[in-house]
Subunit: 214 residues, 2 copies
């Protein structure tokens, strides 16, 4: 089972690495990190470089496509090579998936017309511009398209994906291997649960980045 | 605030990237990925390369030290340069931390004598060899040493660390930015919660790797 995780300038690392850590443990999974230009890829705040071992052309028809997000994923949304690759890969994929604002990249490729999908809570309404039906669940499946909410939600999505594509026992084994028994120290992980003051401060800090001029 | 995350051959990506994603969002945080030999570092199953931008000598006195784990962290435990660096950095650090079997590396450096600490559930008893008191909580703090359980637990630890070093509001903001409102699809994330059959299968699969001959 070939799994392609797209990297691009400014990508948010955990969006890709969370699902990677789950998916690569599935039997016969072969995860390949790909980019328009293979080699080192800078993540969103310039403190970490991930390596894309493969170019897009080297992985034309993966079984699973995964597009991570970014505070502003314009480097992917404005790259015709990425959008062409996505449209082509989606034709033969078993699953086409995104984490966080990676959904906006799927949208820019025209893959979300009429599709129920989610993304980071701050970008959710923006999905409608691409004809999608914004849905605020943490993991949303519509046919073979599976989208996850912000950043850390890719771990939950990947476990659901393993349960669907492999089986529940495999997903449970992987959950136990990565000891995914979360104990968040606060109730602040969603806009509904976080204190209003916290939410407002995050919006003030990130509004300019999320879908604005980065 | 300078934060050094150690990379080494065979490291588990999420052990480092989970905390990185939290910590780099804290005000004035400067995260540096370091290694004995800077450049590309292969992760545990050969499907992902992370880049260590800095050598050990370039980051001699970070405020926060973070050591991720690996199925078998022998590349770090057997590297005198890493152990020397850890001993030196620990003398001036504000926090010395580990995720998963990164605790065994702290132990090999002699930093866990008499210290309450945790690690991946499959490696927990091994901590006693280094004079530590194995403790099966998800995040364990003993003085300035903070250790986390397996792989994904580094996210919880990093949020706790931000609350301690910065403040709770900052930790909550970061939790909301990374939308950390986990919804694991199964109750299988700890050896106490997972079905016995699942646990036995994981042990059978990983026993040879975890602390054995990798």
């Amino acid at each position: 089972m070939e799994i392609a995780i797209l990297l691009y300038d400014g990508v948010t690392a955990l969006d890709g690495i969370g699902p990677y850590e789950v998916l690569h443990l599935a039997p016969d999974a072969q995860v390949k990190f790909i980019a328009s230009k293979p080699g080192l890829v800078r993540t969103d705040f310039g403190m970490l470089n991930l390596n894309a071992d493969f170019g897009l052309d080297e992985v034309p028809a993966p079984d699973i496509v995964l597009v991570p997000g970014a505070p502003n994923p314009e480097a992917a949304m404005n790259d015709p090579a990425v959008l062409d690759w996505l449209r082509q890969a989606h034709q033969t994929s078993t699953w086409t998936t995104s984490v966080c604002t990676g959904a906006l990249v799927l949208g820019a490729a025209g893959l979300l017309q009429g599709v129920r999908a989610t993304t980071h809570w701050m970008a959710l309404e923006g999905l409608a511009e691409f004809g999608a039906q914004p849905t605020s669940d943490r993991v949303v499946r519509d046919g073979k398209i599976m989208t996850a909410a912000g950043v850390s939600s890719g771990i939950d999505m990947a476990l659901s994906l393993v349960a669907e594509q492999w089986d529940e026992a495999t997903a449970q084994m992987i959950q136990l291997i990565i000891e995914y028994d979360p104990e968040p120290p606060f109730q602040a992980g969603s806009p509904d649960k976080a204190p209003v003051e916290i939410r407002d401060r995050v919006i003030a800090q990130f509004a300019a980045l999320m879908g604005g001029e980065a």
